[in-house]
Symmetry: C2
Subunit: 426 residues, 2 copies
């Protein structure tokens, strides 16, 4: 057993933290320890003012001409270019628009069509059985429409799907890089290489990766990616999502099914026949929201601000230090309370969260913690999920969170009936 | 020739206008005459404050719990119920989400599948050749994917498509109720009845109707509708769009292709298989944006405020009075300048805009008017488009707009080179 970790030791970590100044970028509620940035990122200080300017000046005063004068028309690409810097992509390859689900529909459609054009016998989409459900639902829809089979397997069974007879029928491997429930991270480079060796393409969902862990889409030779704007990118609730396509998939005309006018080569010529724009702009569909994109840009800027302080490598180092600290504190202080750690202890397999499992009362314990000002969330079955956002969390927050967890468990206060009432959204 | 209409006569119309108080709901730039509310509605006074509250309090302070406490999760339906009151629909039938293009993809998919289930020989989608292009592009995509033919005809040729051999192969009639370029309005009840008599379904795009003209979806027995939040609903640039389905199309399980998690029967049970929610909620896909929905709600509220002053009938009466006035003033004062009116003179066929055509210089004349503070827009080829929003326009605005048009034409100032420079967005 290691010597007990003290609050003073955590304060010392904060004093030495090169990313500590980044916390000032956020408007955090006083007294709250927010461990749910993997569900909804915190509010950047810049956002409210920037959104006001878009509403009052760009919309209210300049009205329709802001499409030109304020650059609204290029906003999806401009924000996309900023996101590209966080995920190992190049300018012109990322676009911010629509939702993750809608974007997945687009890129998975294109990926399936691309594989089909080369080998019509490849009719299987493989994904993880407990991948985030919206990804599975979208894949199910495309499979049903176009005669593919969606095959759901356990994480450990994925490699076997990429070789032999299974590999020969594989069209697309669809995975979320960091698992929403357990925080387990897939080896992107290895799985991408193995899928390519099998003759298939890979679509990565970066919902729990972008802004949280280093992502190297080009280095991994990935094919397509989608991701979320409202988690670690701090873009606000329901923020536009993003999508990326490797340039080799953007070389020809991209016929994605949601062929709305903003993805047309010349939308303001109002011609009746669809001609896709060149490059990633072909993945646009309807009219973008400059208000939502302005908020997203403020959020992305909070992550880009880390560039001067060590970049995503520094973010990753602090993230691992925090999740290690949390896990060590839980081991030292919560022993005997029936908690087990679901997130891999090996840093190479871990995202920026720690998920604990408890057979009884997990939901109520999360509610009791929230009542004390420690906000994590519950994910069925039995998971207490804690996200660690290095941009605005301190090591003393981790210590305090575990202190509250100890008290909730030791006191049994979670058994109170009010903590068992289910909310609509968990 | 009628006697000249004077500015004083227009001022008298304003003095007698029952809707005049509604103008106070908007933050309009001083000195600007805004005749482009059919492209981007003006900013309601309530919007900036409401959005600030969503950002600073609901997001910033209450964070993730606002999905429950602020009712974010039900916002698409709550705003949809308000829109329903403007389009002759009932509560629970309308949902505000995504873009018009994305929503059209959903409802057109369901409409095509529904017709196919009854009669697989129906393989034709009929639309208007110069329908708003994004509608045609989405229809083209679905036709290409599922083996339908998209047949584009002139407006006058539509009735012939609904009878005889053409009627027998018709699956869906897809029309925009009020034409974006000419302002011509289709007879919704008649065309819907004729399409039904032929055995087909009808999808209506209400982009230039909702909030501008009375729409009676139930009375017309329409099947599906989509519409835009940022035009006459004043929801702000890129606002969420809406969709409606007649209850007879919501009775069973609705399998729309964009089957994201928010359309699932139980999204927070995180089950791997898709089961559509009951009712119109099955048309949700990804996570909605409470920020964007709050702005849209403020816009919809500006239209609902007319209810106490005569409702959409009063809005329609003022709209027709304004477009009549504009047309009469152009006839009286711009004769000999090569302008022709493209919008139907018969009120029954007219939306809330007037489109003028000029063979030469239409784009530059629009730019010269904008430089004078009269904002209309240009639509190729040769169209000067002027939208009249009864909620915030006065009859003297109409008079002043034509006065400026007379001066631009008489002076020839539109020939100045700066008015011929093309912007990215026209």
């Amino acid at each position: 057993m290691n010597p007990p970790i003290t609050r003073g030791a955590c304060a010392a970590l904060d004093a030495a933290d090169p990313l500590a100044p980044l916390r000032e970028q956020f408007d955090l509620p006083s007294g709250l320890i927010y461990l749910d940035g993997n569900s909804l990122g915190a509010l950047p200080r810049a956002t409210a003012g920037r959104v006001q300017d878009v509403i009052r000046r760009e919309w209210g005063q300049d009205l329709i001409q802001s499409w030109n004068t304020a650059g609204w028309i290029d906003h999806p690409q401009r924000v996309g270019d900023k996101i590209a810097r966080l995920i190992g992509a190049a300018p012109g390859e990322v676009i911010a628009t629509d939702s993750t689900s809608v974007n997945l529909y687009k890129v998975l459609s294109v990926a399936l069509a691309s594989v089909q054009a080369a080998d019509a016998r490849r009719r299987v989409i493989v994904s993880e059985r407990d991948n985030f459900p919206t990804d599975l639902y979208i894949a199910e829809s495309l499979a049903r429409q176009h005669g593919f089979t969606l095959r759901l397997v356990e994480a450990g069974e994925i490699p076997a799907q990429l070789t032999g007879a299974s590999g020969n029928e594989l069209a697309v491997l669809l995975l979320t890089h960091v698992h929403y429930r357990t925080g387990r991270m897939h080896p992107m480079a290895d799985l991408t290489a193995a899928a390519h060796a099998a003759g298939a393409l890979v679509v990565w969902d970066l919902a729990h990766s972008a802004g949280a862990v280093p992502v190297e889409l080009h280095r991994c030779e990935a094919d397509f990616a989608v991701g979320c704007g409202y988690k670690y990118l701090n873009g606000g609730p329901g923020a536009p999502a993003f999508l990326w396509a490797h340039p080799r998939h953007l070389a020809g005309a991209v016929w994605q099914p949601l062929s709305g006018w903003m993805g047309h080569a010349a939308p303001f010529e109002f011609t009746p026949g669809y001609q896709p724009a060149t490059g990633v702009r072909a993945f646009l569909c309807g009219t973008p929201s400059p208000v939502a994109l302005a908020a997203l840009e403020c959020g992305v800027d909070t992550v880009l601000a880390a560039q001067a302080l060590g970049g995503m490598a520094a973010v990753r180092a602090k993230s691992l230090a925090m999740t290690d600290l949390f896990t060590a504190l839980v081991a030292q202080r919560c022993a005997g309370h029936g908690l087990s750690v679901q997130t891999p202890t090996d840093a190479a397999w871990r995202g920026s969260q720690v998920s604990l499992y408890r057979e009884e009362g997990a939901y109520a314990i999360v509610q009791a913690l929230i009542a004390r000002g420690v906000v994590g969330d519950y994910r069925a079955p039995g998971i207490l999920r804690f996200g660690f956002t290095p941009l605005y969390l301190r090591f003393i927050d981790v210590w305090e969170a575990v202190e509250h967890l100890v008290q909730v468990l030791a006191s049994g206060e979670w058994r109170d009936a009010r903590f068992h009432q289910r909310a609509t959204v968990t």
